[in-house]
Structures are given as structure tokens and as C-alpha cells.
Amino acid sequence: MFFWKDLEEKARGKKFIVSVAAINSSSFEALKNAKDKGIVEKVIATAIGEVDFEVPSWIEIIKVEDEKQAAKIAVSKVRNKEAGAIMKGKVQTSTFMKAILDKEEGLRTGRLLSHILAVEHTEKGIMFITDGGINIEPTLEEKAQIIENAVESWLKIEDNMPKVAVVAAVETVNPKMNATLEAASLTQMAIRRQIKAIVDGPLALDNAVSKEAALHKKITSFVAGEANIIIVPDIEAGNILGKACIYLAGMKAGGIVAGASAPIIMLSRADTEVEKYNSIVLAAAIS
């Protein structure tokens, strides 16, 4: 079990260097906040034209002509291990992703990219919710990769094998409910070691996080009540769950994109300052 403060400590123990593609004032502000708190050691950033903020000593600026260059060079800094994570600045998402996924010079691992949201439960610590942001309608095979990305990221933080719950609306398999069929397949895949993880599903969200709820339903499951990682049925459910945790349950959250050879930080205008900070902390802890 770990909390944001544990991730912060872990981050501070590393010399975390972030590579930024097309840095702008808003990404600068988030990085400055993280630097002030000891999370970021240094930043290497590409910049298109003049930057709109005063550049401190801990930021190395590389001037570039266009977005393509901005992304390409930022990616290369991670590829040659000068930086431990890459952050998107003012560059088109498609351009950014293209550079990351470049076959020759990118950060591919062979797995798909997936979004992980880390939310902090006051008693249970941090849980991962995936994928509420990138893969619209993942196939079964892609869901297996989403699980592996999440487990791999988790294991960079702590040694204990995380428990993965594949969530659906009900905990029984219903042929009319595709989410439950997929959950059953993923569970079996894990049992057959096709996925290297401890997986159980289908589980409704309450069964996944509450031992009491699971007991009520008399569910026999190694994961029920103790899920560390929640795999959502689709992007809609994932996005809704993540936002409900933040906006309606008051949980502190941060997110990264996993599946590349280093964590990818993609901050949105809608993220609060806390979320932006936590996303950088998460990336640092995983790097």
C-alpha cells in the first residue's frame, strides 16, 4: 500500500529529468511547482520560437523550427536516456504520439499505449484506474496489454504483485454483456499465464474495492475487496469513474500514459494544479 506522499519520497530519491516537447508557460508552471518540491531535478525542453516565460538555470532549451522537430528531439532525449520521462507541451497530440511511436527512433515497446489514472483512497492507498483516456474500444488482446502496462508500472513502485480487478456492471458472466465475457477471458488468460498478473473478473466496482460488499455476494476471489488496479470495460466507464473519483469523491489523482519505454506526461488545461503535480510525481516514481 502506498500513498502520494510515498511516491513523492520515491521521486525525490531519484534525479528525475523530464524532456518536454514544445515547452510553454503552462507546462513550465507545472514543472516549476514540481521542481520547487524536489520532484524534478532538471528539464530538457524543445521550444518553437521564443518562449513566453523566463528560463531558469535548471531548464535547458533547444530551439526548433516546428512541432515535428519539437517532438522528435524531445523523444530522442528519452531514447538516449538523458531524460526519464517525456512531457507534451504545446504540440499536437498526433504529432507527439507519432514521434513516440516511430519505429526507428521512437519509444516503442511493442505494447499499445494506455492511460493510467492513480487515485488515492484514504484507507486503501493508491489505486490505478485504466484506461479512461486513450483506447476507445480496446479488443481483448489490447485489454491484456492494458493490464500488463498497469502491472509493469505498479511494479516500478513497489515489489508486491498488484491485484487486478476487471470491472463490469455485474460479477456474474452474462452472455448479453460483453464486458463480463471479456473479464472472464482475461481472468483465464492470467491463470494460463498468458498475462503475467493476478487478475479476477467480472467484478462490480463495489466487489472490487469493498471486502464487505464482496462478502455479501459470497464471492470467492483473490482480488475482491483488495483490488489495486481497476480495469474498466471501456473508455466511457473509465473516464466517468476517474472523474467521479476526483470531482465527487474528492480523491487526489494524477495520470500518465504507459506502454512506451518511459512514462508519458500529458497534462490537460482542465487538470487542477494538484493533478498536474501528481502526474509529474507519478512519472518520476515510475521512471
Binding site: 483512497h121 479512461g132 483516456g133 476507445i136 470491472v167 463490469a168 456492471a169 455485474v170 448479453k176 454483456m177 464486458a179 462490480a204 466496482l205 463495489d206 474495492v209 469493498s210 460488499a213 455479501h216 455476494k217 474498466v232 470495460p233 471501456d234 473508455i235 466511457e236 466507464a237 473509465g238 473516464n239 466517468i240 469513474l241 472523474k243 467521479a244 473519483c245 476526483i246 470531482y247 465527487l248 469523491a249 474528492g250 480523491m251 488545461r269 482542465a270
Partner: protein, 304 residues
């Protein structure tokens, strides 16, 4: 409507209480809930079920049976039919499920000749009282319709608006949730949301203000909506959240209950009267608030 205490107060203030027909009342948990509703002036009840067993259970929970009409019917299927009949005859104005199978309960309600069907379909709506939201928040449909078609979603939205109005929310603001707030041809949830929002604008859905697609943060947080520069009469102020399907609905419902620790009451709407469908897993509070919700809806529906 800011809180459940407002609803409970409203019910306590009325003299003519709404009457629950309980199908399969010979169950300790259900009788406890009925007793509490009666004791606190929320609702009265007619108990349909095995009279002998009811009379056995009642004293053990301190329930004074003289206050309640009992219709003796030991067979659970018949009990469902009898409970529905009581509503049809005007002797009760809402239903509660006791020790009967959900399938039998719903079948009796949806019976073409002797049931309580309307033109609509039945859908599940839950109202939450949350620490982090300034008013009651409705969520639909977390439990009934698995993968509603566009037409069915329209009915789900209209049901939700009617329910919200019946509990006292004037012109409810309805947010059609999706993962993003822009229309993406690859994301059916966003296409459905756009169609439904337009239908409401054309008065094909009445009584509420409907907008979508909206991501959840846009729907409940004015700041988040401002950040995305969203122009919407619903953004930041939603009264009702409509999820694209049951998976998202259930995940949201459970998140608000178990992670946000919200107080919740839920009913099935779309039949002629509100239908309470609580399960053993629901807390005593959830059962109590569900009955209260049904009662205020029933009262409100009569006044609409």
C-alpha cells in the same frame, strides 16, 4: 433539492401518507425497512405475503402489526400479482420488493393486461447526496437497461426528468455523459448524446434542460467547464447524469456509494408508479431513502 433530509421532512409534513404494497413481506430486512418508514412518518404499507410468517417475524423486530393491512399470500409469484393489483385498484401507490424473485416482480409489473405499464420503458434512477456536490445528483441507468438503443435512451432521459420533477427539482438539468465533450464519429456515446440533446431542443423530450456530450467533470464542475470553454446551460450544474450504458452507470453508481461515501436512494421509474427494488446488499439507510424517494415521487407525480 439539496439533501435527503429535505425529502424526509416533506414526507413527515404531509398527513396523507403514500402507501407501499410490499410483495413478499415475510422477510425481516424488508419488514424492518417498512417499520422504520412508518415510524418516521415516511410511508405506510400493505404487507402481501405469508401472513403466518409475517406474524412470526414482527414481534422479534418490535413491529406493531395492527397498523398494517396484511394480504395473506404465501406464494411469491401470486404475492407479486396481488401487490400490483393493489396498486391498480388504487389501494397502494408504490411497490416494494420483498422475498420474491426479481424476475417475478418485474413480470407482474410489466404484465400487458394486469400490470402497470406505460408507453415508456422501465429504468433505474439513483439519487445521491454527496459531500462534494451542493445538491442531490441523479444517476441513470445503473442497473436496468444493459445496452439501450437511442430510442431507449430517450425514454430513460424522459423518465429521469419526470422523476426529478416529481421530487421537486424544477426543470432538471440533464448531462449526457461520455468520455469527451466533443462529438467523435468513432464514439457512439457522443453521437447518441448529440442526438438526444437535439431532440430535447426540439421539445421531443420535455420538462428539462438536456445537454451532451459532456465529460463528468464538465457536468459537475463549473471550473472544469470553464477551462474547456464549454457553453452549456447544464455544465457545472447537472441535476441528472445519464451514462452511455450500464457498465458506466454501474461503475459511477458504485463509485459514488463506496468511494464518495454518498447517501443514496434508488427506484425504478417508467411504470405507472415508482417501484422500489432494494436488495439484501443495500444498507438500511439505502432502503429507507429508497422508500422515501418513491413516496415523494408518488406524491409529486400526482401533482404534476
Amino acid at each position: 433539492m439539496k439533501s435527503f433530509s429535505e425529502i424526509l421532512q416533506k414526507l413527515q409534513d404531509i398527513t396523507e401518507k403514500e402507501i407501499l404494497a410490499v410483495a413478499g413481506a415475510a422477510d425481516e430486512e424488508v419488514l424492518k425497512a417498512v417499520k422504520k418508514a412508518s415510524d418516521e412518518g415516511i410511508a405506510e404499507a400493505i404487507l402481501v405475503g405469508d401472513e403466518e410468517k409475517i406474524k412470526e417475524i414482527a414481534p422479534s423486530i418490535g413491529m406493531e402489526l395492527s397498523k398494517f393491512e396484511i394480504v395473506n399470500e404465501p406464494d411469491p409469484r401470486q404475492a407479486c400479482k396481488k401487490a400490483v393489483e393493489l396498486v391498480r385498484e388504487g389501494k397502494a401507490n408504490m411497490l416494494m420488493k420483498g422475498l420474491v424473485q426479481t424476475a417475478d416482480y418485474l413480470r407482474a409489473i410489466l404484465d400487458k393486461e394486469k400490470g402497470l405499464r406505460t408507453n415508456s420503458l422501465m429504468s433505474h434512477i439513483a439519487f445521491f447526496e454527496l459531500e462534494h456536490y451542493p445538491k442531490l445528483l441523479g444517476v441513470t441507468d445503473a442497473a436496468m437497461n444493459i445496452a439501450p438503443t437511442l430510442e431507449e435512451k430517450v425514454k430513460i432521459v424522459q423518465n429521469a426528468i419526470n422523476a426529478a420533477r416529481a421530487i421537486g427539482i424544477e426543470e432538471p438539468k440533464v448531462a449526457l455523459l461520455a468520455a469527451v465533450e466533443t462529438v467523435n464519429p468513432k464514439m457512439p456515446a457522443t453521437l447518441d448524446a448529440a442526438a438526444i440533446a437535439k431532440m430535447a431542443a426540439r421539445n421531443q423530450i420535455k420538462g428539462g434542460i438536456v445537454d451532451g456530450p459532456l465529460a463528468l467533470d464538465n457536468a459537475v464542475s463549473e471550473e472544469a467547464a470553464k477551462h474547456k470553454k464549454i457553453e452549456s446551460p447544464v455544465a457545472g450544474k447537472a441535476d441528472i447524469l445519464v451514462t452511455p450504458d450500464i457498465e458506466a452507470g454501474n461503475v459511477l453508481y458504485k463509485a459514488l456509494g463506496f468511494l464518495a461515501k454518498g447517501k443514496v436512494g434508488a427506484v425504478l421509474v417508467g411504470a405507472k408508479v415508482p417501484v422500489v427494488l432494494t436488495s439484501r446488499a443495500d444498507s438500511d439507510e439505502a432502503k429507507h431513502l429508497s422508500i422515501a424517494l418513491a413516496a415523494v415521487m408518488s406524491k409529486g407525480m400526482q401533482n404534476l
